[in-house]
């Protein structure tokens, strides 16, 4: 290795391109892994909601949330799912943030949450797919915890927003 380095130093013209190539080789795999590969995030294995086990204190059940929404101390509800599902049906008053598995979604969440008191009653939900596979809940939960929210709850949706909220007859709104 040292011999090669000395050889390159003697022939200065070769040193810069060789160092650049070596740097690229070292950095590229990390960058690809962080960006989710060339699918632009589609094939990335994200942190999943299953890291928050059902029954945990961080979670709120649909029936509990429906009751809270009728009380005087309503929570702020943020939707972290795909827009196509949100426009078809969402919890009344829920604000659309979008998928927080994507950096832009996480940025929107940060921006929205920045103006909320850290002790406010805040509920996040998705329901895009079965709980143990949801890629959006865990990054959002982690981010909001880091921001210092003390009354943060995650709506536990076992299968989907359709089967665990809409079909159960809980209040639903439609549109943007």
């Amino acid at each position: 290795m040292m011999k090669l380095f000395k050889h390159l130093l003697r022939r200065r013209g070769l040193l810069v391109p060789v160092l650049m190539a070596a740097t690229t080789l070292l950095i590229t795999p990390v960058a690809v892994a962080q960006s989710g590969g060339k699918n632009g995030g589609a094939a990335k294995t994200p942190a999943l909601a299953s890291e928050l086990p059902p029954g945990g204190p961080e979670l709120i059940r649909p029936a509990e949330l429906a009751k809270a929404l009728q009380s005087s101390a309503k929570p702020t509800v943020l939707n972290l799912g795909p827009r196509v599902i949100y426009v078809q049906a969402h919890i009344p008053g829920a604000e659309y943030i979008g998928p927080t598995a994507k950096p832009e979604g996480l940025e929107r969440l940060r921006a929205r949450a920045a103006s909320l008191p850290r002790d406010s009653f805040l509920v996040i939900y998705c329901g895009c797919c079965p709980w143990e596979h949801c890629p959006n809940i865990q990054p959002a939960y982690k981010e909001l915890k880091q921001m210092g929210f003390t009354r943060l709850k995650v709506l536990y949706i076992a299968n989907s927003f359709g089967s665990d909220w809409v079909e159960k007859g809980y209040p639903t709104a439609k549109g943007e």
Binding site: K38, N39, G40, G41, A42, A43, T45, L48, P82, R83, V84, I85, V87, Q88, A89, P99, A101, G127, C128, C129, P130, W131, E132, H133, P135, A158, N159, S160, F161, G162, S163, V166
Partner: protein, 148 residues
Amino acid sequence: MSSPKASGSTLPAPAITLTDLTGNTLNPSGYKGQVVLINFWAAWCTPCRAEIPQFMTLQDQYRSRGFQAVGISLDDPEGALRDFCRESKVNYPIVMGNQKIAEAFGGVLGLPTTFLIGRDGLIHAKYEGATDFPKLEQEITALLQSGH
């Protein structure tokens, strides 16, 4: 653990025109005479991605008997979707979905969601959540044999 759900219905398949990633147009109600599987999915949805090879196997296995699978992707960037389909060598048409298409099927409020349309153009089954493939295959073969 989530529990996948399959429910039967006999509503007609919606008469909407879809355009797949290669620019071909197709119509779920225009496949009369064939058994058609419509799978709403997304490349960002882990359980959806895991099902694609099994739909490809069904497509290979039953195509000659009059079976056609169609994938409708929700909320995927088109470039990422094309990359995924090319790399996975998906052997059936993939369509970029939207609210209108989802609502034409009575609403899709979770992924994956799969519909099975019979030769008669009616929706015979809807699977919500992870697909029960042994049950799905049974239904496909029954529909292929029955003429419905």
